[in-house]
Symmetry: C2
Subunit: 123 residues, 2 copies
DNA sequence: GAACTCCATTTACACGTGTAAACGATGATT
DNA sequence: AATCATCGTTTACACGTGTAAATGGAGTTC
């Protein structure tokens, strides 16, 4: 079905730069995930099966490239959360973070600008 | 580990009103999940094991009550998404929805009010 | 008290996921 | 040519999850 958590870590690397070999991917995930090469290979094969990436031969090895855009993935995940927990609306989500004191000064400033823009557009 | 998707559906019912029996829960999830009674029982037992709910005897059956608050669950899920996809910051998340044209007029109005409040508080 | 009815508890089973080891093929080295 | 190194491919295996069926035990009814 969807892209799993571990698979997403691989995708993140490829979104940061592609095409890349399995070895490069392993190096790029690096510290946070203490993976063996075999683990990365398995994940790549599962992603291939899911058509989330494609492979092109480069000599004896393969280079991998994302087929789905990060934007699409982010959209799907975000909408999922929003629908499951906030009745599909954004304002309650932000209200939640606000109540939890999870809005940084910077967040507030940026949100303010963002809303002003939208407000103007709507004019 | 965490509360799974199906388990969350049961929790939602209990958050809406508790304590409730397995049968009442089954009835309350109703249409969207076409579950047998056994399914609900399994989920309840897993939730008990995870200390997410507790059971109290009521005659021959049990009544179930949440032990973790919906707020806590929502926080965890939301923070998870934010950290994984938006570098832990709220503004980029809202920007994402904005770019996807997923902000309703109502969302915008509410966000505006929210931000104004925060801005005032901060002085 | 034998049979029935309701619950709960136990067991099941396939599929996805995280995490690799084992095996195999193909090109490089002696 | 025989061996070594380097990839990819196949197989593995435990644990969580979704989804229940089977079993068991305690009241309830003939």
């Amino acid at each position: 079905m969807g892209i799993s958590e571990a698979e997403a870590a691989v995708m993140e690397v490829l979104w940061r730069g592609a095409p890349r070999s399995a070895e490069e991917i392993l190096e790029a995930v690096g510290a946070d995930r203490d993976w063996r090469e075999g683990t990365v290979k398995s994940l790549l094969n599962r992603l291939l099966k899911k058509k989330a990436i494609r492979a092109e031969r480069d000599g004896r090895r393969y280079l991998y490239t994302p087929l789905i855009a990060r934007e699409a993935y982010v959209s799907q995940e975000s909408k999922g959360l929003l629908d499951r927990l906030f009745d599909g609306r954004v304002a309650p989500l932000v209200a939640h973070f606000s109540e939890q004191r999870k809005l940084s000064r910077r967040d507030i400033a940026e949100l303010k600008r963002l809303i002003e823009e939208l407000d103007d557009e709507r004019g």
